[in-house]
């Protein structure tokens, strides 16, 4: 199979408009989590999210397109024959909230068309939904297209928002925190939603070489699995996630001991984080190495999460450092010596990133310099 590279990546989250801005603020320990103002949470128990502060919300506007436009402006130009993979998962939320009266995009295929129009390229591609692992699965399938020689460039993009639709749903499931998001902390009690958008351009080696990237990062392996256990809760023993990681390791030809750092899904819910710690013990044994989550800073950005975390991992490889896990103060036993509230250095050769989602899906990607 052909090699796959990340040629360009751009993100927007509540803490910044670029990868560099996000990296800087993560390193400073800053978080965007604050009180929600764009809808009334007064009768709910949960009132916080990590919103993009300058997103001036109007009931008539599609804010996914507002965020995507800002992201796409920074990834242009892309090769004209680029295959587009749209991985936003709740693009109809604002349409439904508006009573379906407005001329808003609401189907995934409409977002892909909108991306193609915005980039002035042919609308060739697919839309992927894999719940909160959607952009990770999108990156795996995009890498698959290039590895099989079907395309030389693939754009994986997503945007999702902390909408009333999603907030009331996770509130009903009691998955949100009424305090603050604390991934891998003993006192963690739930997640926070966040606004986020991402665009990542994958290319074959020739295009990557021509682009002259100073730090070419390769997607060396990927894996996707299902827990086959529960639709909204993970397999407690982490076996589904472990299987996805092991598939990615086999493809990359890397022994578990070769993984230098790990960006987790790390939502801050009791069950997710416990499951991930179990999967770490399963795959990596007692070995201690840098493990982190960025959701205490940017919230859970749903379909965009995996792409945003991949962009941060690319930066981590360049900096040979992983950012602090913001919100964590008193780590779980299995997180001790791995997850830290301060930045941690590593060799900068390879890094693992994973996401898991409703429906039991797990996805893992290995990045290598």
């Amino acid at each position: 199979m052909k090699e796959v590279y990340i040629a360009k990546s751009t993100i927007i989250t509540g803490i910044g408009d670029t990868v560099e801005e996000n990296w800087g603020r993560l390193s400073e320990g800053r978080s965007a989590i604050g009180t929600i103002h764009h809808f009334d949470t007064g009768r709910l128990h949960y009132h916080q999210a990590a919103c993009v502060a300058d997103l001036r919300r109007k009931h008539t506007e599609n804010h996914i397109c507002v965020l995507m436009e800002r992201v796409l402006d920074r990834i242009k130009p892309v090769p004209p024959k680029t295959f587009i993979i749209w991985t936003g998962i709740k693009g109809n939320a604002e349409y439904i909230e508006s009573g379906q009266k407005k001329d808003m995009l609401h189907l995934p295929a409409q977002y892909r068309q909108w991306v193609a129009d915005n980039l002035s390229i042919a609308n060739n591609g697919i839309e992927i939904n894999a719940a909160c692992a959607a952009s990770t699965v999108g990156l795996a399938l995009g890498a698959q297209k290039i590895a099989l020689g079907k395309y030389d460039s693939v754009l994986v993009c997503a945007a999702d928002l902390a909408t009333r639709f999603v907030h009331t749903g996770f509130s009903a499931l009691k998955a949100l925190t009424a305090t603050t998001c604390r991934p891998f902390d003993r006192r963690r009690d739930g997640m926070c939603l966040g606004d986020g958008a991402v665009a990542i351009l994958l290319t074959g080696s020739d295009t990557a070489r021509k682009a002259g990237s100073k730090h070419p990062v390769r997607i060396s392996g990927w894996g996707i699995s299902n827990d086959a256990t529960h639709i909204t809760g993970p397999a407690r023993d982490g076996r589904g996630l472990a299987a996805a990681i092991q598939t990615a390791l086999r493809m990359a030809g890397i022994h578990p001991d070769g993984v230098e750092a790990y960006c987790t899904h790390g939502t801050g819910t009791v069950y997710n984080d416990s499951m991930e710690l179990a999967a770490i013990e399963n795959v990596f044994g007692p070995r201690q190495f840098p493990v982190f989550s960025i959701k205490g800073a940017i919230g859970h950005t749903l379909g965009a999460a995996g792409g945003i975390e991949t962009a941060i991992c690319r930066q981590a490889l360049e900096k040979k450092s992983v950012p602090p896990t913001i919100g964590m103060e008193n780590p779980e036993k299995e997180a001790m010596g791995r997850v830290s509230s301060t930045a941690q250095s590593f060799g900068g050769q390879n890094i693992l990133t994973t996401n898991s989602g409703f429906g039991g899906v797990n996805a893992a990607i290995l990045l290598q310099v």
Binding site: K90, N129, I224, G359
Partner: protein, 231 residues
């Protein structure tokens, strides 16, 4: 490279069946005619009666396809994946969920309905019931495509060697809410699934071949939708 089709099953408004029985899916508008629970499951999924219509329809057709492939029963987990392609996904249940969140500041929003507001939940329910632990996700579809994006993506997954058996096909279940509130909704409802395998050489019903980066059927025709495999 050749990919074996070892099973197929469908449920539409006109009929339901299994590929091995020789019939083929007929698409018409209207509510799908679901087989009886006894016909499709030796024991139904625990939450089957609580599934939304999209999930119930998808699980029924996936069950028929797995029966046809002789893979419906298993004592242990199996690395089989599921890819579903859909135009409207779970939009109908999205609308139903938000009706429950609209009043009283959202404090009585339905957690059960919210659980089904992702199109991949059907793959999760099927994975649990049939003990399938391979890759699961959904792909956008187009009206003429009806399963093609899922089949093409599944073939790619098999080609990379990460999973050798995939359940793959089309599922759409737009209901009354969607048809009355959203303009231009296609009224065809149904589900068609095939079981694709590179490893299983027994009980092969037909084959898909890769020719000049296109997928072609056993008769050499370019694959355009899941229906083409029932020729």
């Amino acid at each position: 490279m050749e990919i074996n089709i070892i099973g197929g099953g469908w449920v539409t408004a006109k009929n339901h069946g299994r590929m091995r029985d020789g019939a083929r899916p007929v698409l018409t508008a209207g509510a799908p005619v679901l087989p009886s629970v006894e016909d499709i499951f030796s024991h139904p999924p625990a939450r089957y009666r609580r599934f939304d219509a999209y999930t119930r329809l998808g699980c029924a057709a996936i069950s028929l396809a797995l029966q046809d492939a002789g893979l419906a029963h298993a004592d242990r987990e199996r690395p089989v994946g599921i890819v579903v392609s859909s135009v409207y996904e779970c939009f109908e249940v999205d609308l139903a969920y938000y009706e429950t969140a609209g009043e009283d500041g959202g404090m009585f929003a339905s957690p059960n309905l919210f659980s089904y507001t992702l199109p991949g939940i059907v793959t999760g329910e099927a994975a649990i019931h049939f003990k399938l632990t391979g890759p699961t996700f959904t792909v956008g579809d187009s009206i003429p495509g009806r399963g093609y994006p899922a089949l093409a993506t599944s073939v790619d997954v098999i080609r990379t060697g990460t999973c050798e058996t995939m359940v793959s096909g089309w599922l759409d279940s737009p209901g009354d809410r969607l048809e009355t509130r959203v303009r231009g909704v296609d009224r065809i409802r149904g589900a068609i699934f095939l079981v694709l395998s590179s490893g299983c050489k027994n009980n092969v019903l037909t084959q898909l071949r890769i020719k000049d980066s296109d997928l072609v059927t056993a008769s050499g025709a370019k694959l355009r939708s899941a229906l083409d495999l029932f020729e």
